[in-house]
């Protein structure tokens, strides 16, 4: 079982959009996928028409009172399950603080699911917190959406440096440009140059496209309702690159 997290301390950069589309594409490839919507806002749960509610709240999960797998819901797509958001996730940091080894908590919660899933995708809320630390320790790959600005590249460097300081397990980092606005010269410039220069950048990038915004109307991933769109093609290439970095074996 591999763990992938869509990660950025900023909101509104395309983490959830990426998580749901890659989740669907991976499941369609035959991998058994669990998407954990860690954001109390529940955007990913909403997109799969699943109520953002977990019995007993985040408390019961984090403290191990309820096994994670009873909270899991099946999506409408084969091989793709969801662990829904819950409004109590706002306090995940506090809950983690009370737990033993908070930075390893997420990894140990997911361990029992090893046999059930090939891939877990963590859709993270924005913010730096204990939760994000726990995510960084659990993940095999951090998929970082970046709006093409010079500033965002600097935050990537900070993240890479932070992760490099870990003992033992360190996630790989794969950044990609998200919401590239083709009308902005700076955007296209940066998005063109950087991936060629840096190995931690994906070749695939996701332009700003209105069809992606329409996901909240359809309540489904764009790769489902508009499979032939440019957006879907870009998500598919991004998934290929992520899959290679994860070294996922062929699905059984």
């Amino acid at each position: 079982m591999k763990i992938l997290a869509t990660y950025n301390i900023k909101g509104g950069v395309g983490k959830t959009a990426t998580a749901v589309n890659l989740g669907f594409l991976a499941a369609r490839d035959g991998y058994r996928v669990l998407l954990w919507d860690l954001d109390p806002q529940g955007a990913a749960s909403f997109l799969f028409r699943i109520k953002p509610r977990v019995k007993g709240g985040g408390q019961a999960l984090i403290h191990g009172k309820r096994p994670v797998d009873v909270a899991i819901k099946g999506t409408d797509f084969e091989n793709l399950d969801l662990l829904p958001a819950d409004f109590t996730y706002r306090n995940l940091d506090l809950m983690l603080d009370e737990a033993k080894r908070p930075d390893r908590r997420l990894a140990s919660l997911l361990a029992p699911l090893k046999r059930d899933y090939d891939l877990v995708i963590l859709d993270c809320p924005p913010s730096i917190s204990l939760l994000s630390e726990s995510v960084l320790h659990a993940a095999d790959l951090l998929l970082v959406p970046l709006i093409p600005t010079t500033l965002s590249v600097r935050t990537l460097d900070q993240l890479t440096e932070f992760v490099a300081g870990f003992n033992g397990h360190r996630p790989k980092v794969l950044a990609f440009f998200s919401m590239i606005d083709r009308r902005k010269r700076l955007h296209t410039q940066i998005a063109q140059d950087l991936p060629a220069q840096r190995p931690d950048f994906a070749t695939a990038a996701i332009p700003a496209l209105s069809v992606i915004e329409q996901m909240s109307v359809h309540r489904a991933p764009v790769t489902v309702f508009s499979p032939r769109s440019l957006a879907s093609k870009q998500y598919a290439s991004l998934w290929q690159e992520a899959r290679e970095r994860l070294k996922l074996p062929q699905p059984s």
């Binding site: 799969f48 028409r49 699943i50 819901k73 099946g74 409408d76 091989n79 399950d81 309540r219």
Partner: protein, 525 residues
């Protein structure tokens, strides 16, 4: 993702066309709807089990499912829960579909085969029912248009064991995490007129439609104490004849080794019954048929002996220390060749006029016995026969000393077998729990004597095989040496069993055991 563990199965009346759509949307306080797009699949299904329904009796069902060009073997519990699935190709990966009946060895190694092995053992799997299903499937949506369950309507036409249309069946399978909703929906559907919770899985429905039932109880007889002994013997012997005939087809076709084994058990019991209790039958009936059943028994012996060898071959070779299993390959091949010849001979015998005459005339004779017969009540008769056999066994055992030849132990074994068989034959006259208590020591003694004799027989056979293989020039020296090692191991096991016999006999002949035995037959009315 659909989850098999949360299925709600419903039976409909025959020919019913339940209006599920309106039941789903108007059902008591329900807020579900059916998605507009339905898929219809044709599914070919074959249920497999052993001749003696081992899977069914173990609460399992094995189904070969072919849908949209793919064939799978699915093992479920009798509540429909999926336990294991495998592609139904042959083990050699040729992609060719398995031909039934077949032994488990044709399945690819994996969880399915592992689950089946302890239950199925050496038996072959054969179709017990075949059907084609027309499955119409629709999503059940909640107010958010989220799929919470799948609703399937299954129209099944059965083609085997008889042609029939089964009543439609509904299945509601919950999407993971929506079991409660699917359960509510299931209960709503169950209140529709002509619909009720399913009494069993599709196999039950298929067999019911075909007018048969799974795992029919055979060979169970119930004697009453006051029954005339002649009539009781006829009942017992007719049940044994049924068992013989039921196993002829599988033995001739060589489907698995258990057919012959069960056939032999029934023949042996018939012979014991004629010998030990044949006096209850009118005139010289027993005396006339004893030679015929001896012929039948002898006919089956060579093949069975070779089966025993071949079935135990891997275990036998696993004990080798100096030689390797490969050294024994020529031995195995020799055994297989010899078995082929023996089986051909056996099949010829079972297809002969002599065999046909034996079974049909015997059945007719037994039928006429039941009408008339001697008046001695069976309970008294049984007690008397058992007491005699008990005395014989004790005498045979007391004769044995450290210096006794193996033939004395064989004699004791035979006497024990006779006693045990009488207790079984008249078993339905006694309380089951009490009977089990009464035969405990006898059983332990028999096991030990069995181990002794099996080792003895196999040892002398292996010498005989070696001689013949030498004569045929089909035995390399390494093979003969390996066979020698096996013979040595058999001798060691035989000595071990011999040492244990004395203690086991003492336990059997002791006061407590003997009085339990006597009390059993005297307890009857």
């Amino acid at each position: 993702m659909r989850s098999g563990s949360s299925e709600f199965l419903l039976d409909c009346d025959p020919g019913a066309t339940p209006d599920v759509a309106s039941a789903v949307s108007n059902g008591s306080g329900c807020t579900f709807s059916l998605s507009g797009d339905a898929t219809v699949r044709r599914v070919r299904r074959t249920w497999l089990d052993t001749f003696d329904w081992r899977l069914y009796r173990a609460g399992l069902a094995l189904e070969q499912v072919t849908a949209s060009g793919r064939t799978e073997l699915v093992l479920t519990g009798r509540d429909g829960e999926r336990l294991a699935v495998a592609q139904a190709g042959s083990a050699n990966g040729s992609g060719q579909q398995a031909r039934w009946p077949a032994l488990l060895g044709i399945l690819p190694p994996g969880p399915l085969r592992e689950l089946l092995e302890p239950v199925v053992g050496v038996r072959a799997l054969a179709p017990v029912a075949k059907a084609t299903s027309q499955v119409r499937q629709q999503r059940v949506l909640n107010p958010d248009a989220k799929t919470v369950a799948w609703l399937a309507i299954d129209q099944m036409s059965v083609s085997y064991p008889a042609r029939a249309h089964a009543a439609p069946r509904l299945a509601v399978s919950a999407v993971r995490g929506y079991q409660a909703q699917a359960g509510r929906l299931g209960s709503v559907l169950a209140t529709m007129p002509g619909v009720r919770l399913a009494a069993g899985i599709a196999l039950d429905a298929a067999l019911a439609a075909a007018g048969t039932e799974p795992a029919p109880r055979t060979g169970d007889i119930q004697l009453t104490a006051g029954m005339p002994s002649a009539a009781a013997m006829a009942v017992i012997l007719t049940a044994l004849l049924d068992a013989i005939e039921a196993n002829v087809h599988g033995t001739v076709r060589d489907i698995d080794t258990e057919f012959l084994h069960d056939l032999r058990v029934a023949v042996r019991r018939t012979r014991s019954a004629l010998k030990l209790a044949g006096g209850a039958l009118p005139g010289d009936l027993a005396a006339r048929y004893r030679p015929e059943f001896k012929w039948l028994g002898d006919l089956t012996t060579p093949t069975r002996d070779l089966d025993v060898y071949l079935l135990g071959f891997d275990q036998m070779t696993s004990g080798l220390v100096a030689a390797t299993g490969q050294d024994l390959t020529p031995f195995r091949q020799y055994l297989e060749r010899t078995r082929t010849t023996a089986h051909r001979e056996l099949a010829r015998g079972l297809r002969s006029a002599r065999f046909a005459r034996l079974t049909s005339q015997w059945r007719a004779e037994l039928a006429s016995v039941r009408a008339s017969g001697k008046r001695l009540a069976v309970a008294k008769f049984a007690a008397e026969r058992i007491a005699v056999a008990q005395g014989h066994a004790l005498r045979a055992g007391r004769r044995i000393t450290a210096a006794s030849p193996p033939s004395d132990l064989h004699d004791l074994r035979k006497r024990c077998k006779e006693l045990r068989y009488l207790l079984e034959m008249f078993g339905s006259l006694y309380d089951a729990g009490q009977r089990w208590q009464a035969v405990r020591e006898l059983k332990a003694l028999q096991d030990c004597l069995g181990a002794f004799q099996d080792a003895e027989v196999q040892r002398s056979e292996i010498h005989a095989f070696a001689d013949r293989m030498l004569a045929e020039r089909s035995a390399p020296a390494a093979t003969l040496l390996a066979m020698g090692e096996i013979a040595a191991d058999l001798a060691r096991r035989q000595r071990q069993a011999r040492i244990e016999v004395d203690g086991r006999f003492a336990a059997f002949a002791g006061q407590a055991g003997q009085s339990r035995l006597t009390a059993l037959t005297e307890a009857g009315p």
